[in-house]
Symmetry: D3
Subunit: 156 residues, 6 copies
């Protein structure tokens, strides 16, 4: 049986932290699906198209990684993909408490397990909310996001 | 003198976690008031009427529990009800830091004390925000909310 | 039925933080037992006799408070005293995680509930380990322990 | 070379906690700039003018403190002011995790260091979000904000 | 290539929490080695022989699980066993901070990754230190340790 | 008036994390005293002489740094040295809660303030306890301690 993992998120943007998590989990799985959640009521800074193109650019040479969008519950998407594992990185205790609740509720809902890696220390400060703030203020986010020039800010 | 406690919240929805907190605090008090805060600037997922009906259904057989709505400061509501205690459950450290600030500021404002119980371990993951997310995506929240079929999603 | 609470600890020494917790819980109970745990394999800085005399001096005017020693499991002592509640203060998240485990294991073992109050903010830094360190180095612990001159350091 | 520190925030309102942080950092610096961030997409409870007047009233007698507004990235403002340090208080672990990420990302972006003091224990519960909530409900915030009568709630 | 994981610990005793972690990680690996660290300077409550017999009794029907003892660095044991993963459960933020440091130092030392699962909520309070305390005081640890009657307290 | 800071610790050993904290605080002070606490009841892994030689080797080119030993309370040592500041790094929330208590008790005892920097992200996992464990098991600690070959393990 194939070992399939789903890495869910809004990835607005997909940071070096996210990139590292995919790369570190890859040897354990036959397929890793980067699953970009689409929620019509949420405001994103970057267009969906540019976020997908950006993630694709990072894993172009890696056939075990695919990129998909989904709507609805993450565990429903996993079932549809026959993925038995969700994968996540944890940076700090605030992340931890949040991820713990979601992982345990997902387990109760569906039996799907969430596996965690500790974020690489030098990437632990990287936070998508702060990256967006820097980008909105025309700061340089090159230290936090690979190939970030592909990302396009939404016009409102 | 009557021992009266107020259990304040928006209860959107009132989860099995909340239910357990009321039941565990009951032996200590003569009356426990479940106080549903109403804030006109906040968006709730479930109608106020259905939230009240839902909570009433859970404590119908329990004369020491009453359900009320309130506006304004929680400590003002307590004074009006002659309640000297607020009661709360704590699930994790994020809850803890938030509840600590509120409890200490309420104590400074009014002298009213907040008593805490640790959430029952198997209910610790239950989080109203995640329950709402599951409900909006047509997931089954039966594991997290008793009698949840009474709750009615607001039309916008 | 009498409402009896047990406040367990080694109280080496009984700080202003402990004192405040007893005083704040008192209105809720008919009796509060300060229960000094005695563990023959542990090294205490202050003699048991002086710790007991010290606590007695603090609550001499308060008939609802009694001071006792105990050995063995805290929940066994509670059952013997017909106390249905343990009471504790929490200062910070390190305390919280530790107290949560103990409270939940005690609940599983015996059904006895642990009630918590947030430590008064200005007493939150007070830590018996640091108080002992200051005392051993001849520092003045008067800001942290009432009547501390009663306490006698053990000769070895 | 002058030692200049920037204390950034939205200060909606500037609480006794903020006031204490400035006063405690002052002996270390030649100049402390209280930098009020202005973000046109954010809703503030108090008018910018009243927030500035309020902060000025607190440090009128203190020539080393100046008050300024800024837009854009905090580190860009620091560079413009030739400030090599940001200063912040930390109340609890939730603050800590948030401040750690920001400090480390600012360090990566600019080399500017963030210095921290632990919030004075009795001011640790003071939280601007809760202060705003109290003010909106006509509660008395005098225990949390000096000279708070200067602050003017925005008309919408 | 075989997927081998090492689950290291002193397991004094091996609780239901540990048992659950092994069972939940099993589907992901071809072999899971429960590695009992032996440290001559540490005092254990239970004899090594009884700890090993106890763990063996729990996984007798599970050929993918083996039980071994080791001395020295955990990462050296992993290399010797050609295991590329360490596995651990996390209960709370205190665990988290401790496990994060060890995982990151092990990664730096050896490239070996540590995978984490969140402890099953109802097992999160189970803590080997508290279990030992209960056992020493003749309490019943049956709720926390399967087959605990096999464990033999060391004579001193 | 000279700006003097004391950096206290047992430094068993002085890690790259400690080294970085001294270097980052240096521009703010005229003198930084690395103060090695000597406690006759504590067991150290490395001899005091080798720890002192090790720290000296790291700051030989830095005239603003001096290394001293002290006994007794840290705040008494500060007063004797006319230092108004203690300096410390914080890695994580466990550190934070511990350092907060000590800083606030030191402030109450003496008025001496403790300034904090967030540990450099890639050094955050470095933990003296784990370094000692690695060293005792003949592991290579070169990634965590500069010039570590100077350190001599105590004979017992």
């Amino acid at each position: 049986m194939q070992r399939i993992a789903v890495f869910p998120g809004s990835f607005d943007p997909f940071t070096k932290g996210h990139e590292s998590i995919v790369n570190r989990f890859l040897p354990l799985f036959d397929q890793v699906i980067v699953a970009v959640g689409v929620n019509s009521t949420k405001n994103y800074l970057f267009t969906l198209e540019s976020r997908l193109a950006h993630i694709q650019s990072l894993f172009a040479a890696q056939p075990k990684v695919s990129i998909e969008t989904y709507q609805g519950l993450t565990v429903d998407f996993c079932k549809q993909k026959k993925a038995r594992y969700l994968i996540r990185g944890i940076r700090n205790t605030t992340d931890f408490e949040f991820e713990k609740s979601i992982a345990q509720m997902n387990q109760t809902l569906s039996g799907i397990e969430t596996l965690f890696l500790m974020t690489d220390p030098q990437l632990a400060p990287v936070n998508a909310t702060i990256v967006r703030e820097i980008k909105k203020n025309n700061g340089d986010v090159g230290a936090f996001v690979t190939n970030n020039q592909i990302l396009i800010i939404q016009s409102k």
